[in-house]
Symmetry: C2
DNA sequence: GTGAAAGCGCTAACAT
DNA sequence: ATGTTAGCGCTTTCAC
């Protein structure tokens, strides 16, 4: 019998240290019996080093020993303690993702993409939305810095405290929706300009430039700005400089769409117009008001949404919209993040994802 | 000068052990400089034990010392290493939540509730959807057992492998949507029966029982079964035993709603009927087909959805629906889970959350 | 190919 | 009130 067997078995049960931490097989409460690398080593009559090798670098172990150890591992249901592993390797295979909110089709789909990709790459995903923050003083439960290997942040508004924190904690980070790669941060951005141009040009096919409107989300929002910018440029290129009423900002909500449309209707500007909304919800709000006030879509009013959420195919008439590959955004963020985690010396990059106009019913048909 | 200062400083830099793990302040790559409890202890001229006490049990330390240590902690930006902590305390303050999918209003809202509650209780949330599984053999990346302190599982179909795993790993678990508290598992369930009864009775006010339909999701689904059951019972109570066409099962998708409605329309059963859909999406599908085939809602057809997602207020006519407090479900799950994590001896309980009929436009109005 | 041993950073018993 | 120390479970040199 190898000495390791003797040593461990003999030494441990007697040599009760002064510190008696979590139960090993404590009866009376429902603790996990928790089999450790020592248990495996003992049962397989090898040292813990060998067990470790079998798990992390099997080619350093003879096939025969490896097989025996594997068998014991299986029989005992051994799973390495991630805390102990992390203490040495400084890796948890957990990635954080911080979103401004996790509500609605948009974030939901993004998260789905991120989750799928993380799984594929054998990482776990720790989510955290910012929305519920700050109610109670400054106890900002930042997304487990120290535990996570990397963080994907979506920064909608300028420089949120979170991004600063991330920078300071020197943790691998990728930013969604803001191109910061010149500042040394990997980023994923969506090519808002392309889709916006296509949509605006599509509108201009049947609506005079002076009757085209952009109904955006919050003015501070990065996407909003790009979309508004591309809209304006396209109008200018067509020979019409839009006035201030043609480009407005509000919220990314259906309610804001309704508000805008109500105001527009009261100025009689709905009929004969074309509007590009900042997202599908806004577009839906506009469509609702139009319908309620007897303005026919698309005959009297053309409307195009943004994002291509399921909403777009749910409403009638079906909503033309600019598709944003939200799922791919989430997936790309994780892919890039993992890349960075596994090689921190790589050059910061920025992945651009395309947008494209999808024409459905709300923007086509016989001109008025 | 305390001896600890001498000991640590003198001993460590020279006594380079055989094992040289992760860089402490490795230049050349962008590692975190990582300040440890020792650094704080040194700088504050106390032992590491005192630093630990300041963080975990301040009342054991004199106010003066505590203040000094706190200052150093702040100056150095010290954050305890969660791996080292977890190794001893066996807690990570990370909770797992496993959902069949994370798509759509429903799961999105549930997740939002869970996230908010987790934050409130100072836990982190590790999500994982099952949908992306199993593509590549059996590499089931279970939700970080060993790392998480507890797991909230939503079991839609009978006994998924996940729930078994959870049981085996002896980790605190709460189950969503299936009452298992008799089997010793905390659970959160929604009182499907109440809302379903209300909805069915509401339908019966204007539609004869023989013209009432339940268009459910998957037959294996727990919620579906309860809803179908309550529907049938209510019909029976009103003196009509529903035939097999009146209670059907499919998917929780808009498409299934369309299919059902198409089939129904071809049998001329749409006009003059009342239908309770398994969820809002199905209801929307039915409404679309009805509209397309010229059946007016609510005049010729009454429809009620289930869940009260935003869809319900988006469509026209606005959808009557049975509200399910998805957000509260998520929050309650986390609350219960944390309770269990912090006291494993408590009796398993089952939290019931109510549902309630919300009457909007799709189910009321002048009878035909 | 395998084992011995150091030590990651921390908490908690024990000693003072 | 504070310090000393063992040890959580693991990975990894180093020696054989």
């Amino acid at each position: 019998m190898p000495k390791s067997d003797f040593k461990y078995h003999a030494a441990v049960p007697d040599a009760k240290g002064p510190h008696k931490p979590a139960a090993k097989s404590d009866p009376g409460n429902g603790e996990r019996p928790s089999v450790s690398i020592h248990d495996v080593a003992d049962a397989a009559r090898v040292s813990i080093a060998t067990v470790s090798r079998v798990m992390n670098n099997p080619r350093l172990v003879s096939t025969k020993t490896a097989a025996r150890v594997q068998e014991v591992i299986k029989k005992l249901g051994y799973v390495p303690n991630p805390f102990a592993q992390g203490l040495i390797t400084r890796e948890s295979r957990v990635l954080g993702i911080a979103l401004p909110d996790i509500y609605g089709e948009f974030y939901s789909e993004l998260l789905r993409g991120a989750d799928g990709e993380a799984r594929r790459l054998r990482y776990h995903l720790l989510v955290s939305s910012e929305s519920h923050d700050d109610q109670e003083e400054g106890r900002r439960a930042s997304p487990a810095f120290g535990l996570i290997d990397g963080l994907a942040v979506m920064i909608t508004d300028a420089n949120s405290p979170l991004s600063r924190e991330a920078r300071e904690s020197a943790i691998p980070t990728v930013v969604l929706d803001t191109d910061l790669h010149k500042r040394g941060v990997d980023s994923i951005v969506v090519d808002n300009a392309k889709g916006t141009r296509e949509a605006t040009q599509h509108l201009l096919e049947s609506v005079p430039p002076s009757r085209c409107y952009f109904v955006g989300g919050p003015a501070e929002n990065f996407d909003t700005q790009q979309r508004a910018g591309a809209f304006t440029e396209t109008l200018i290129a067509s020979g019409c400089t839009p006035d201030q009423h043609q480009v407005t900002f509000g919220q990314y909500t259906l309610e804001w769409g309704r508000q805008w449309a109500l105001a527009a209707a009261s100025h009689h500007t709905l009929n004969g117009s074309g509007v590009l909304a900042g997202n599908d919800e806004i577009a839906c709000g506009i469509m609702q008001v139009a319908e309620d006030s007897g303005v026919e879509i698309p005959r009297q009013l053309r409307v195009i949404g943004f994002d291509d959420t399921r909403l777009a195919t749910l409403v009638r008439p079906r909503l033309s919209t600019v598709r944003v590959p939200m799922r791919e955004v989430g997936a790309a963020a994780i892919r890039l993040l993992v890349q960075r985690v596994e090689d921190r010396t790589a050059e910061p990059t920025c992945i651009h994802l395309p947008t494209a106009l999808i024409i459905r019913e709300s923007s086509v048909g016989p001109a008025q």
